[in-house]
Assembly symmetry: D2
């Protein structure tokens, strides 16, 4: 931790900070400079020790700002895990080398619809089928998913098609039920900081697919992953799905594609991009899907529906089977360039 | 719903939209103008009917944009409830006329700490004691609250001091336990779209204090309230607590004080402001607290700790009892100006 | 400047940074701690020296981040000017103690319109008349202002009514002409980083009223003021007028009212709030105007038009004379509470 | 224009709107529906007529919102120009089919430095040399560029190397001088709404390279282009360079890559991406540069310096010649996939 004093801070003010540091049992390192003094605290502080100290010092006269020298995520960082993590989900391996496409409808609507979707995405080359049984919807008046019946359909279609399966779990008390039916647990963007859910998912024994919240910083995102990792689950997949947009006129969110190389530089965890939610408009999805592969993503999550016009949710951002198939063809051509096998 | 065509859209494209509307059983109203045609659909659509139609039309050639003519919240709006809602919580009335200050520490740390906090805020004039038993913390390594023991302390201190009590509930399965111990249930900003939690809170029989998510639009905020109202709970309090900041250097969030008159113009629900999280720096809290009263808020939520330097969480944004008392004195002077009784 | 190494950075990497610092002639202060080493550079660096060093070190292996210990604005800070600045504009004094209301129409439309507006705002108690002769308009097809003719009208109306006058100048080459006609030069939000304009305004001999850009951080805002101050102009007024909104549905911008106490804590310059642009909707302007006074602002800029329905620009955010007069009455009641004379 | 009434608006309120529309000479089209009435105004309104009407109606009782059915840019839209624009700059053609890389240092620092940079980027395959003679710098204490001397160097190096040249012009009064020395005029992000500059650039006879402002919506960006086009200049190039970041910790801006397909869907103008400013960190530039090509960009602007460690500005986001050469090699491999010739 480094405390930077205001320009013109008095000697007494500097001493007060040094004294406060010593009172908590650490040895301060006073560093004058630029008319402005900095005070280093070279000690291994826990998060709470750090916050306590920050609170005390933040109230002293003459203090300009307090800077942390360490980030608070550990298990998610390269510093604690020197090899890239490759997540196993059913027969799939998600991470460097491969390129994993998870595709399917926003919602599971019926056995027939979900089977048709699964067959379509399988034919095009996807290896994991996605679809929501429990749907987080902004309005209470929107379709909320088939719930338990949806889970059964997911399991049955997964078995019949041989595709691995992923679905969203919305609350801690449903983790067990969902984990019994699918290969990967999805934590939605709105749940990124639902901590009881993160903890329970981390105990489930299943890989956890974690979407970035729309206003989450990179550090908040990695700390959410840390919650899961901290429960002993090594298999966390990070998903960039668009952040809060500045301009909602033409896209639903702002896809932060630079988050891919940034996350890769900070963490060993695989990174997947969801361009369907990221842009929210079907016609812009293929361009961003391909750009994501080139930017270094380990895979994609794409909304595909046998008939988007009849979709009960998210129809306007959903590809139809032909559009998806064309996209997969493009990705296969691009894959070698990105050192990926699709 | 109104569909606006692209400039230069052909007659055939306009007809295709009109046909699609008719195919779903509605009569389109074609409205040429400005080189650009608009097509109205004057029908009472459910949310899902609207989304289906939007998805179908959004895919047709020549369509520029689709505009909704109704908002999707109903119970939260003036249109469904013509009188301002006054929420009862214990002996308190929250809404126009009164001005309710909820104050207390970020976390319940011990019986002694919480009692001291309660006595201090009561002495200064607060009527509701706040404090967290379950703490949503960005890092898994931070203090997570005393949990059930904390709830007991809250109940005991509330009884002893005669203050009404509020605490946060983080997941649907804890609603029952929390509701037994407090007068108001708080839904935190990160849980604003935790829909299972909103539904359960709406069934609890307790008033629900709902914080705005950091990236929530006004409409998303009101729709979250709608989830609670839709379960038969009439007593929802809206809380503005700062939105995602553009510049995190000097404040923790951006307090969107204009949300107070905006929410008041759209909804009958009481609006409370939390300047402690809104700015995140103790020295700026009093100015924003007073500004909130003048902007039309029905009350405040303020973090106060008997000794902020020893607080286990949020110390740097917490007032000490003297600062809080001075703020309450100022608010009492201002209250008549705002037509409020404190 | 402080360089923070990555966790697990090698001794050699730390040495490489220390060597790079020494190569530029400064003595590094190595500070181990928390598994992570920090390296202080206690020297008075110019902005360019700092940027050069930052660029060199930023490329070395094992470096996590580089933190500045000084801010780059000087003349705008309390550290260089220990008394609050009171700006003189005509007969007005803008700064602590007083409360200055600048009001008038968005655009000067005619002598008659401007005179009527000036008389109305004077009657209500405003001391400075505002109005645009050169209008920055998002669309090239919108009314662009009366230009030189508008300047003549401003001067004439100012003389006739005895009100001080302010108008926007949009480019460096117009500073001379504008300065001849008004008491204060306004730099618009979109021009906040028009550096040639800032420099020229700083040489004009007139006080400069500087609006914060919609995406400007507090530091960028103060550095823009620094450009003006650096030309020898001591009379800069800072104006918060709303930052980029997250949600454009109900307000035009997000009025960042906390910027008032933040700016006051960092700078000796007066701070004015413009709620008209800040919210962009006439009915929300009075609430935010009063809140701004209570939050510590030194004054307001308000759009007032004799007949907003006939305004050539910004009509929907403009008060009519009766609304403005009512607001001024409220402000007079509040002023003593804010230790202001209106 | 479409006026949407509040739910429960009275017949008299609807009539008042209809009457206001008629009073201005247009025939309203009343469209009841969903408990809520909409009123269409099918007429070709100028921007000012529209704003006047919007202002009048916005004040009437019972009005919920007013929606525009037309966008305000015209010359920039596909509706007015049915073929993609290919901009000529010196011997270069910028637009579909080709892929234009503009590269060079942030600032022109000396003849030797600029020549070395030009030779390096030419060797790697760039066709246009970029470099600033006039530098917009956040701080007045930073290096401000060589100014006129810089322009001479740019012209000389362009002639000697055969590369086309581009440099930024910061104010209207410098357009003539700059236009005499370079092939393309650059308008910087901070000048995107410097309207006098846009107008003057549009009259210069040179192609104009327009950077998107950090808080500019897509429509504001296209309207800025419209200012240039409206002066008779058909050759405008749009440049996405990153928007205001939510999280400044790891990148300088948020590169909005989806803006590429969005702009392409709305406008015939070429779109270039600047990943150097877009992310602001050299190591993330190549990934985003390649992703931009795949997302559909017509080219790139990249900062390259013979020795980034010695750069007087922007060193930390600048590639060295080897990094740039490796990137160009990658782009050449990718180009056929994007139907581009590099």
């Amino acid at each position: 931790m480094i405390v930077v004093m205001q320009m013109g801070a008095t000697e007494a003010q500097v001493q007060a900070v040094a004294d406060a540091v010593r009172a908590k049992g650490y040895e301060p390192l006073v560093m004058p400079g630029e008319g402005r003094t900095a005070i280093g605290i070279p000690a291994a502080l826990s998060t709470d020790e750090r916050m306590t100290l920050e609170s005390i010092i933040g109230r002293l006269e003459g203090v300009n700002k307090i800077t942390q020298t360490s980030h608070s995520y550990k298990l998610a960082s390269w510093e604690y895990h020197r090899e890239p993590t490759v997540v196993k989900a059913g027969s799939q391996r998600i991470g460097p080398g491969s390129f994993t496409v998870m595709a399917g409808p926003c919602s599971v609507e019926s056995y027939e619809q979900y089977l048709a979707a699964a067959q379509a995405v399988k034919r095009a080359g996807a290896k994991i089928i996605r679809g929501g049984a429990f749907k987080p919807r902004t309005s209470p008046y929107s379709f909320q998913g088939l719930k338990m019946e949806g889970l059964e359909i997911i399991k049955q279609v997964s078995t019949e098609t041989g595709l691995a399966s992923i679905t969203e779990v919305m609350s801690a008390d449903m983790v067990g039920a969902v984990a019994e039916h699918v290969d990967l647990l999805q934590i939605g963007a709105r749940s990124m900081q639902n901590f009881p859910l993160l903890i329970e998912a981390g105990k489930s024994g299943k890989p956890v697919f974690l979407k970035r919240g729309p206003s989450a910083t990179i550090e908040e995102f990695l700390l959410a992953a840390e919650y899961v990792l901290n429960e002993g689950c090594p298999d966390v997949i990070l998903c960039e799905r668009g952040i809060m947009p500045m301009d909602r006129t033409f896209t639903r969110n702002t896809l932060d594609l630079a988050a891919v190389p940034v996350l890769k530089s900070l963490s060993h965890l695989p990174v997947i991009v969801d361009p369907s939610h990221g842009v929210g408009v079907a016609k812009f999805v293929p361009a961003m899907a391909k750009a994501a592969m080139i930017a270094g993503a380990d895979g994609l999550m794409i909304e595909v529906h046998p008939d988007p016009n009849e979709a009960l949710s998210d129809g306007s951002q959903t590809l139809d089977p032909d559009q998806f198939s064309a996209l997969m063809d493009d990705l296969r051509v691009l894959a070698p360039f990105a050192q990926r096998t699709l």
